[in-house]
Structures are given as C-alpha cells and as structure tokens.
Amino acid sequence: MQRELVIQPSKTFSALHLKDLWEYRELFYFLIWRDVKVRYKQTVLGAGWAIVRPVVSMVVFTFIFNKLAGFSSEGIPYQLFTLSGIMAWNFFSEGITASSQSLIANTNLITKVYFPRLIIPSAAVLRGLVDFGIGFLIFIGFLAYYSYNPGWQIVLFPLAVLWGIAASLGVGLWFAAIGVKYRDIAQALPFVVQLLFWVTPVGYSSAKIPAKWEMLYWLNPMTGVVESFRYTLLGKAYLPTNLLIFSIVVCLIVFVSGIFNFRRMEKEFADVI
C-alpha cells in the first residue's frame, strides 16, 4: 500500500518521529562507517592513534597528578585509576566536539537531502565507540599487567557506558543545534571542553571535593560517568547513592531536553546554515 506523507508547518513541540529514525538506521550506520573509514586516511599511525592518545595521557597524568601533586588513588594502581577516567573523558570530549561540528561539516547534506537530522550529530558521537573499544582493550591489557582483579561490579560496566553515551549525546545535541545558528559555539567549545576537564575527576578522585561544593561539582554530567566507570571497572569509587541519583537525573534532563531542543531547532537548519 502506498504511504501518504503530509507536509505542513510543524508545531513548536513536534513529536519525535522515532519511526522515521528507525527507517533511516542504515544511513546512520553508513555515516558512522564513513567517518571511521575516512578518519585515519593518510595518517602514518592510522588507528594506532586510538592507542597512543590514552596511553600518553595516562603517562603524563600519572607524572603530574600522582608523582608531582601527590594525589592518591586509594590503593588502586594510579595508572589504572586515571586510565579508566581517560577512557570516559576522551569519548565524551571527542563526542561533543565532533557532534557540534557535524552539522556544519555536512551542510551539503542538510541543504540537499531529507533525512532525520538527529542522525548526523548522533553518528558523530557514536563513531567514538570504535576508539573507545580500542581503549578498552588497552585497559584490559593494563589490568593484566598490574594483575588487578576487578570485582563483580564489572558486569555493570555496559550500564556505565550507556550513561556515558547519554551524557555525550545530550551535551552534543545542545551544542550542535545552537552551533548552526550561532557560530560562537565553534569558538567557545575547545575552551569549554578544557574547563570541563578540570572539573571532572579524571586525574583525581571526586572524594576530594568539599561537601559544600559537591552538588555544584556533580552538576557536571561527566562526574557521575567517570566515577561509575571507576566503580564498575576497578570496584572502588566515590559514588554515594544520593549523588549517583542526582547525577543520573541531571544527565537525563540534559539528554531529553537536548533531543527536544534539537527537534525544535532543526526545521530552520536548511535555511540558516
């Protein structure tokens, strides 16, 4: 049976059209595939970069935070402690950077072809899972090297990853949608990412934060993600129940509002970009 499509001005809060998104799942896959494939073309190290980045970060952080600043890691080898944070952080920072640039980088698609626009920034975030997977293998290698035995909590790790994806998508969608109209985002983003890094417990534990600043500190959606990575991968982390719930709620708000805001703004994309 033929389907019927009605085109008319949409209301301010449009439905999510999840069915539409499902129909275009193959495009989603192809866009990720394209970006992964093109990313390391004409580089010497190729996918080796996915190994170099976290490992070098780990070495530098260990030297600065652990050896120079003397931050402890509560009995866990510091290298493992910080690498678990680096994995989550790299996925997040690369995800939001890529997604905020993705719409402008795909201007030709947006002005010439129809498909659910959500696919572009989402694919930009999710393609980071490839590098993330490589990083995870390295982490496993270091676990073995330090003969560190993760606890039963590791079965919860997929949930922590889902959380990390939701946080990256939420923030990424906000930046992507606003960035089409206001090119300030491209200027502000590297700076914002850098600032966020310092208020994310990658090189130190969030247990160090004074109680009166705690709520503010946990507003950063990545705080909960990094601590939950640590908890599931290493069995030990600073993750009080009330802050855990608070952090999940913050993340959900950012995620859901990010999607709705994106849908609200997307109808202007082709005219404004």
């Binding site: 499509l5 085109i7 495009l27 698609l109 072809v113 498909f115 206001y182 082709a270 005219d271």
Partner: protein, 418 residues
Amino acid sequence: MSEPVIVVENLSKQYLIGENIHGRGARTFRDIFDYKMRRIFSRKERQRKKEETTIWALKDVSFEVGEGEAVGIIGRNGAGKSTLLKILSRITEPMMGRAILRGRVASLLEVGTGFNLELTGRENIYLNGSILGMRKKEIDKRFDEIVQFAGIEKFLDTPAKRYSSGMYVRLAFAVAAHLEAEILMVDEVLAVGDIQFQRKCMGKMKEVGRSGRTILFVSHNMEAISQLCRKSMLLQSGELLEFSDTQSVTSRYLSSNIVSGLTFVNSDPIDERKIVYIKSAQIVHNGNDSDQTDLGISVNIKYDFLRDADSVRIGIIVKNSFGIILWRNGDADSERRFFGKRTKGSYDAFVEIPTHLLKNGIYYVTIFSDIPMKEWLFYREDVLCFEHHDNATEKVAFVDNPTGILRMDLHWRVNKVE
C-alpha cells in the same frame, strides 16, 4: 481517474532578506547584541523594522499532479522553483499551506550529494545510495546496473579523488537514477557532464517517466523540459502563473524573459571599499531595426571608478540554456591597455556578442568585475538574458544540429586528389 499523487494547497514560504538579524546566514551573539543595542538607542532603527524586506519565496501555490505525469517547473532564478522542491522533499518547512505526497519520494537536488573523495567508487555508491534513501538490499540488487550505467567498472576500487570530473558526475547520476520511488523530483541536474552523457541522462529520465512514475522536473533548459514533460508550471516571484501544457508555458516564459532580462540596474548602495561600482548593464540590439536578424547583440555596461586604480577587469560570462559557460571574457583579457591605470570617473562600455557562433536559443549573461587572481569586486550571476534566433541558419540543413554547444561556420578547403 485515480487520486492525484501530489496535492499542493496554498503552499507559502517567506524569507527575510537584507541586513537583518532574523534573516539567513550564520551570525554570532555579538551581532544580536549590536542589533538590540541599536534598536534601543536609535529611533530610526526601530522604524526600520517595518521596512525590513521580506520576500515570498513561494506564495499561495496550489496544484495537483496525477499518477505517472511528468511536470516541468520553469521560472527565472529566484522564482521559487528550488524552494518548492525543497519543501516537497522536506528539506525545509513551509510557513503556510500543505502538501500531500502519495508514494515514496526521491529527490535529486544536486548530483553527488554526500560523495566523499577519500572513499572508493564502490564505497561511494553505498554511501550516496543510503543518503538518498535506498536500502542496502536495494543497492546490492542494482549495484551492477549502476556501475554499468556510469561506465566506471575499472575504477570501482579507486578513491573518488582520483576520478575525472566526468567520471564523478556519471557515477553520481547513476546512483540517483536507480532510486526506486514513485515520485521523483529533479532540480537542474542534467546541466552537468558532456553532451553525450546528458543525452544518456535524458534517456534515463524518459524511461523513468514511461514506467509510470511521477516526475517534477526543474530546468532552465526548455528543450529538455519539452522532451520530458507534457505539462509544466511557470513560477514568478514565488507565484504560480500558469500550469498547463508545456508548449504554452515555455513560450510564455521565453517571451517574458526577453523583456525582463534585457536590463539590469544595480540597486546596491555604493561600497567605497570596492574600487568599481557597476551602475547598470543592458542588452543592446545593434541598430534600431525591429527585425533583429543578423544585426548582432551587444552588452552595454555602465560603471564608475570610485578612485584611480589599475589591474581592474570588467567582464561578462555567457552561459547557454543548459547552464554551460560558453566563455568568460573581461576587457583586460582582450586588451592589455585596460590593465593599466584607469582614472576616477564614469565609464560606458560596449562589448559585442559574437552571435555568429551561437546556436539558436536562450543565453544568460553574468556581469563581473575583479582584480584578476586577487579579489572579486562584483559578481552578479545571470542578470541579463537574451534569445538568439538566427533565421539564416535554418536555410542550411544540419547547422543547428544538437551536437556541440557552438555553431561553427568553418572554412573548408577541399581538394579532389584523384
């Protein structure tokens, strides 16, 4: 009679243009801040709000297209053709009105959208196909057909950046041409590639038309529209002027074009930073005879030099109705002396179009001014247009045959040797 496949009711879209904060284009927070401040402190700015120019890219357009019909969409640049297709293919939203489409829609507003130069031909077929809305299974099924149509069998695994532009376009069109859809919308994509390939594309389009699919076809090329579409619509300034059989629409378009395309008056304010201000340009038929045959056509450009300057070029670009550039020529290209210093003041320039080289048809003229290799001073695309119709050519058979883009009267020397 079955239900119409496309129903459009009072479709409208308005754009705000000019230096306007709500208009198009990227802006920064600073622009908005600036604007708000000016609004607060200056009464003049507040009044200006009312005068802000809005244009109707599309205004109250209604029509119906039945199953299997091929409809041409004709109109000058900015008439709303592309806006109409963009709304119907859901790239942008209408402001008012609605449209109903019954069946799967494939729209082809550009050839090769989403091609990636780093990827191979094979990879690009899959990528481009999925961008256009094909399923992987469909692409698998038609893969060989696509490759064969494009004629790139040997280069399937070569990155697209090593392709010649012809191969690139062929491949891109091939993918799009194999979309399975009940409704096909095509925007001026046949104006690419060599003539032979254009013919192949036209053939493919006709085949699509014969197979009972509905086509909306935008083109500046009246010949292509006449071949493909029995019915056509004429848009002007966003309004639907006429929707009837192609013959009558094209002739109305052509006659309207010749009147409105003859003069161009620059309404932009003078920009002191630019060296040259183009005041006007117009098509002049040499001589006052109403019978214009063989009298020749010139372009007259009036401009001011805002200060003494050298190495400035003022010129024209001429395109045919396929959108193919026939030539670009500036005063300084033809005569070195124009490259030297020209003093501040008004100038009046004439350049004759070599009509003896032109086949019968519509031609578009772009006016430009630049400092070669350095800076564009002025560029206004297709602001003039003229129809060249040379009765003399009809006396000689084959002269206006469809091959080639120029008419050549070559001098042949033939000796019988045996």
